[in-house]
Subunit: 195 residues, 4 copies
DNA sequence: TATGAATGAGACTTCATTCAT
DNA sequence: AATGAATGAAGTCTCATTCAT
């Protein structure tokens, strides 16, 4: 990621920043060019079209997210610890990079997402594997991994949005509580106690 | 809502359907007009501008959602029953009306949402009150109502999306399980057991 | 003019008032309708089209102007007195009815005027006759009546505009002076003295 | 003015020509584009909007007019000679450039003029100074310079219009006569003789 | 007569994309 | 590689006019 041409990166980052404020369609290429400090035509040396730019930005950011998730995982930690680390990795990534969260949310809810579906998502596979492991090792309830993945990820996103809105000060203690809620709900142990 | 002028309703419903497929900006007014069976200019008798149309559609749908939520609540049910009913009301509404879910998700993640923020949301207030009641009556953990609301609502949306993607068949049993997970996580009882 | 249908007159007057503020093309028929207190369709009972409305308004006002000019002429006054009266009639009419002046100026400088040219103008004939009389009786220099007419009328309009701009307070004395200038310039007597 | 981009100038000149025939609102941007030999969008590289185009054209032409007036003034001529030169400069400019006269007349009588009022007019100042000089040197009657300016300028315009209508052949002799009339009316000498 | 909802052609303007330099 | 002027299709919106009531 670091060896991207300077300008290409500038274009991607400019797009990211502008989309947060203006949305996809409120962000003309000329605006991206200006912010990136390049000419409009230059963008077309690096990207085939605007759609292509959006898609590449999506991939670029998804790789970043994967990196963040990967780095959060210590091999010698317990599963629960790794779950907590995973959740906080997402939460921290999104709150530290609100424009990324904003971009993702716009992307997945746009017609773009439909076209991107075909591309196999490394991140999805990674999460799928993580939750499958939890189920197989008897630490998570036997629910489809996709569901668990969606619940956990969706939960982190929800919280990051609450934080982003700024109406609430979310202390670390609050967050711990929320993840605990989530873990309690998903873990096999609770399930057994309640039954 | 039922006494809206025929044409106005047709325009709103056409917009809803088209936005799901094409997104806001992939849906020109001419397309809305055609689908609604009116002339392009006619839309401007009912709506000041395209933005105004989007906003009114948002309000219109939010009223529908409130209606659905309200109808789900039986006064003589227990709090937990009402919580389940609430969650299923959302889930059912979104899965039965995928275009509404799609519209909401596009809306809240677009620059439109910023402008709509100032408008006090009846739905938010309703949910806030519901969760506050749960906390005050000692049935829910003492977490900020906004957070609980976001978690529960976000959770229903997440599931509805999983369903919408169609990759998974979510049996009622699966759903019950998920809501149970959610409830277990949020309820005071579980909290006590675990501590 | 007084026996015009109430509504027809209301439409004409509304148009006049609105054109002053917004110009021809900033004055949609719907706006005229609203100000006149009638429905948009009603205008088309009285006028064939917008152009037709403009033309009829022009005629209507021109008749008014003729009336004003006619009434200013006392048969037993001297020619110079009648000239002064004529000039003041115009000046007073325009300053008392700034929207009329504004309308005329817009009209004669618009493509409408081209089409109206064919219509013989009673006002022009009246002025032509007046100045011809002055020349024939040896009181005015032998210049083409059209020129004299244009000079005198244009002069009154110029002054009315100065007044309308409001930057200057034109006392009656000032005006007398200006007309005197005009008369001095046009009269045969001055011509002789200077030669 | 000469170093304006080729295309910008073509757009301005095309607008001028078309406005004469069709008026402001009968001249769509597409028509301007066609006549100027550029694409519609190109106009918007040079002008922010149609209004902006009209305003810039107004400024552009006013600069031309100032140039013409300036060039007519020989420092070593008498005041009367300079007055005659000034008047003829206007008259000649307007009759040689009927579309400019037409544009000015449309402009000053349109709602545009209201917005342009705030801009201090170099031409007005120039004329004001010229007439003030005449008054102070005792060669013109002591009337407000604005009035004298309006009278002289309005007079030249009136004549140019008579010429433009084409009904009359105005020989140089005729014109000399008219300016003489004007000068006689405005000059102090005549004033003294008559009193 | 009067209404005003409906029409749809056409205006202004934007912007993704190209291409000569 | 980079530029940015130029393009023109397409979008939003206006408004003169019609017509069923």
């Amino acid at each position: 990621m670091e060896n991207l041409a300077e300008k290409k990166k500038a274009i991607l980052e400019s797009t990211l920043a502008l989309v947060k404020v203006n949305g996809f369609h409120g962000t003309p290429m000329s605006m991206v060019a200006k912010k990136a400090g390049v000419a409009a035509g230059t963008i077309y040396h690096y990207f085939e079209s605007k759609d292509s730019l959006i898609f590449e930005l999506y991939s670029y950011l998804k790789q970043q997210a994967i990196q963040v998730v990967r780095e959060s995982q210590k091999p010698d930690a317990t599963y629960q610890e790794r779950f907590f680390a995973l959740w906080f990795a997402f939460y921290t990534y999104y709150t530290s990079n609100p424009s990324v969260l904003c971009f993702f949310e716009q992307f997945v809810n746009s017609p773009y997402a439909e076209k991107a579906k075909s591309i196999p998502s490394e991140l999805d596979e990674l999460l799928h594997a993580f939750f499958e492991e939890g189920i197989n090792s008897g630490q998570l309830r036997p629910v489809a991994p996709q569901i668990l993945s969606m619940l956990a990820h969706g939960n982190a996103i929800s919280l990051a949005k609450v934080y982003g809105i700024g109406k609430l000060n979310l202390a670390t203690a609050d967050l711990e509580l929320v993840v605990q809620i989530l873990w309690d709900g998903m873990s096999q142990k609770t399930s057994e106690i309640n039954s």
